[in-house]
Symmetry: C2
Subunit: 185 residues, 2 copies
């Protein structure tokens, strides 16, 4: 319905919303078509290999968004604590304050999910590295820095799962608030 030449970024954003709500297998072409306002064939024009290509575009956009919301703030000016606070805010925005699921979680599931694992692995490693670098700068030795960075990512993703399953995002919010202290204690 309507062909307003929606910019590709906006198309990918709408696809992302569906994938995050329904998961990879649950995101049917019907739903993706409806969310973008593009017919099936239009989607195939933009994404020749279909759902697979859409998922890859969504992952690439999410990688960029994580860079902007999390990695850039971590590498910015300011005290170490200020940067961790900014990072926590970034994670909060990226995950819709606990209401939006994580592609790491959704895209790793089942037979079709296997193909996405390498991309997800790289994304996680990048975040871990960025957090670890700041901790090293704060004076922690390398091993401890890596472990704490890992623990921070574990806490964020665990809180996300339990928030959804528990029906409340309070848990996720708490984890984010405590994150700077937990990293620096």
């Amino acid at each position: 319905m309507a062909h307003p030449n929606l910019p590709k970024d906006e198309v990918v954003e709408r696809l992302t919303r569906v994938f995050r709500r329904e998961g990879y297998e649950g995101a049917s072409l019907a739903r993706l078509s409806e969310a973008t306002g593009l017919g099936r064939s239009s989607l195939y024009h933009h994404f020749p290999r279909g759902k697979e290509d859409m998922a890859e575009a969504v992952l690439a956009a999410s990688r960029d968004r994580i860079a902007r919301l999390v990695l850039v703030p971590l590498a910015a000016d300011g005290t170490v604590r200020e940067r961790f606070v900014a990072m926590a805010r970034g994670f909060g925005e990226f995950y819709g304050n606990g209401n939006q699921a994580c592609l790491t979680e959704l895209f790793g599931i089942g037979t079709p999910g296997k193909q996405f694992i390498p991309v997800l692995t790289i994304g996680i490693a990048r975040m871990k590295q960025a957090i670890g670098d700041v901790l090293v700068e704060a004076g922690f030795d390398d091993a401890l820095a890596q472990r704490r960075a890992e623990d921070a990512l574990i806490a964020i993703h665990g809180a996300l799962v339990l928030s959804r399953a528990g029906g409340s995002t309070a848990l996720f919010q708490r984890v984010l608030e405590e994150l700077p202290d937990r990293l620096l204690s």
Copy 2:
């Protein structure tokens, strides 16, 4: 193929394996049929409402298994630390040392997942309560006990997600090993 009157427990166990590997939407009747050795119609004989009934049976069996592997050890005799160590071992077995996904994670996804949220919520609350009770017994005040119990569950589930996405279960194993110390420190 073959009709050896497989005991229902064994059928549910095999269904569980498929659901945990493929997720709710990915677990097609074809795969469930193959895994159990029962034809489609036999499955409908045992589970009249189809996949939905199978998922409920799988959730009930998992609840029982968590009770046996985690809740019973937490309420057993022995020092507080010994019970937490036993609990960690129980979680390790339940999650196949990090190789088996969590139904909490898989069944909460997408449109069909909504109906399972209440059951998942109860399951999480029960585990949190059981851990919190032991911490109170160990002398922690109620609020701190609840928070630490929550943190433990967050760590376990977060580690599970990151282990799968990161391609290694080392992370999950580490979290389990550190769990007793983290709860009691």
